[in-house]
Symmetry: C2
Subunit: 398 residues, 2 copies
């Protein structure tokens, strides 16, 4: 973590305060603001039971422009029916009025308990204070306002030069762990001063999300509120990045790198997590096969508990890989932990116990499985399954 | 549990002893024997990494006849390569010689640690003692021989009359929980004196397994050794049960009931389990949709920990159901616990907290979700996710 001073993006300001949604006095309301309307792209949960703010954002994002994002933690505003949708609209209205901008330039996001209504008056009453406090170096405050059970903030910055202009990207995120009692939610917001065409922004953002936020798993659960947004306000004055233009792929690399840092932070901060397991599936016949095998391993409770216990339990890993109906060539499958072979030619590789015991003590372990079927590969990050996960998720009563 | 005397099937004998595979002196070798070759049907794991005994059984079952089943616990004989297959053959040979029957009439099953070879001499040396001790009332001993981390035996009996003859079915099973460190394995063996045609036996057994063993989940993991066999020796002398004959569906009901009892026992005895959650999905458009939703709920760690914690957390349940890409009509979905509504018309049902708190204390809870899309339904049983699950599976080092 850099000092909060470092987290600035020209043309953006931010703030985070306690509005009274959370009972414990921690920040629970955050605002991101661009001095001018920015290009926007977004990725949302595909859950059928989408929260009200997600439904509202999905309408608004169609026009491709936004100027502010208002986010609360402590209440998901999900499964709240028409009343909940009206509440999301009211929060947006409150923000747009205080900011003096068009209402449909405001995006809304929420995270917290499912099935409860907003304490709307508290949010409305806090809005002037939230807006007055907006400042360029306020991004770290905004991050504090979206955190729930997160143990540490996830905030990342990248800079690059495009046509002799410096371009900055800064992202904040909250964890893929359980939030309050009811759901696992991830929220992520990226601000950049890059000048970029809307279509190009959408394409590069979707690609980067697929390789970062969509390549992690804590418990395999998908929330009703998952939202990732990027706002690009063009203040940097670089030559506009376009589809097919040479700057775009370099911008995509920066963005992918930034989202990757946030995503790994989410896994490390997964509920009760003590280890980050990077799982690479190689030599798959199709990309889909590679992903399915990676998630089967990363979501297996038997694999996750073995990592927690420090047990290099390859039997559980190959069993998970073999259970999907993909006809793996048993004799060709090889499994490695940080390069040390555990399984090959249909059986365990003996004599590596000492190396493996040391590897299992590491906070990050790279598991690699080669399927011997083709040339496609995919990598995900997973957390382990621990007593604390059960404690956090069982012993909280609504 | 009845007394061991009650568990007898005419024409069958059984035994279970300690052969020295397990270190702690508990029974680890079991034998089931029919006085004459019996019709046989079986269902096996679809895992690619099938254990050696599974590969051997899949060859032998093709001829439809068997006379003995030799089962060991404490060693899975999985991921052991050609040597492991030779070991399985050697165990079979040892049993067939001691019994004086053709070798290809012996079925083999194993459960325990993956990747370790058998202590073959111990098994061979124990075989005479195992065979000498065969007795009609020995089925409970055989059950003891196949148990591993199981806390209680799973043994069930059904009787029916077919053409004025009494027909008996008796089944034993071991749990779908973690066995030794490396795998979740279920083994089940049913003996019946019914006279039944091979094709009919196969059909009725597959159907019953689909609704029992394939409708439970502890942790969603599929082992390398899962095996369910039924032997029918015809000693009852009933008019042969045939496909399309009127007795077959009644026999199927008895068998389904028997397997259901064993399957529920496995869930109740799932690793660390404190609750059995019966999940019925109704009004699905297709059977596949109903099954997918049921398993998404039953395998969700967030749902399972909520049940452990006694929290009627409907947000996690609808979120799990909504995450599959099935376009659920949100307004039509209803959720009930033991008949008490929790969710309807897109939001939570208020005012039922007291009833729900009482229901959550029950050892068995019936969760029902109606999707409002069609008329297909499916029911599964799941266990909760507890500290003990993590303890059992994390704190055992190879």
């Amino acid at each position: 973590m850099k000092s909060e001073e470092a987290y600035r993006v020209p043309g953006f300001s931010a703030n985070g305060i306690h509005a009274g949604i959370k009972a414990d006095g921690r920040p629970d309301l955050a605002l991101l603001y661009s001095t001018r309307p920015a290009k926007i792209a977004g990725v949302f949960t595909t859950n059928c039971f989408k929260a009200a703010p997600v439904l509202l954002d999905q309408q608004r994002i169609k026009k491709g422009l936004a100027q502010a994002v208002i986010v609360n933690s402590g209440c998901a505003n999900a499964a709240t029916g028409e009343e909940g949708f009206a509440d999301a609209l009211a929060v947006s209205k409150s923000a747009s009025q205080a900011l003096g901008i068009a209402d449909d330039l405001v995006m809304v996001a929420s995270t917290g308990v499912i099935g409860h209504r907003f304490p709307l008056p508290k949010i409305e009453n806090s809005m002037p204070r939230l807006v007055t406090g907006l400042r360029e170096e306020g991004i770290a405050d905004a991050e504090a306002g979206i955190m729930t059970t997160d143990r540490f903030p996830k905030i990342a910055l990248r800079k690059g030069r495009f046509g002799n202009r410096e371009v900055t990207l800064c992202g904040i995120a909250k964890g893929a762990g359980m939030i309050e009692p009811n759901m696992a939610t991830m929220l992520a917001f990226v601000m950049t001063d890059a000048d970029i065409e809307g279509e190009a922004l959408d394409a590069v953002f979707r690609r980067s999300v697929a390789k970062s936020f969509n390549a992690i798993t804590v418990d395999g659960c998908m929330s009703t509120n998952d939202t990732a947004l990027i706002l690009a306000n063009g203040v940097a004055g670089n030559p506009p990045l376009k589809k097919g233009g040479k700057g775009l792929s370099r911008f995509g690399d920066l963005l992918g790198d930034l989202l990757g840092e946030l995503a790994r932070g989410m896994v490390r901060d997964g509920e009760g997590a003590t280890k980050l397991i990077e799982i690479t599936v190689e030599e798959a016949r199709t990309l889909q096969d590679a992903k399915r095998v990676a998630y089967a391993i990363g979501n297996s409770n038997l694999v996750k508990t073995a990592f927690y216990g420090g047990d290099p339990n390859w039997g559980r890993i190959i069993s998970a890989a073999g259970s999907l109906g993909i006809a793996l060539p048993v004799e060709k499958v090889r499994l490695f932990f940080d390069g040390v072979p555990l399984f090959a030619q249909g059986k365990g590789v003996p004599g590596r116990e000492k190396e493996l015991a040391a590897i299992m003590q590491q906070p990050e372990i790279h598991l690699r499985i080669a399927l011997g079927m083709g040339s496609r590969s995919w990598t995900i990050c997973a957390s382990d399954l621990t007593f604390d996960y059960v404690k956090i998720n069982a012993h909280y009563h609504t």
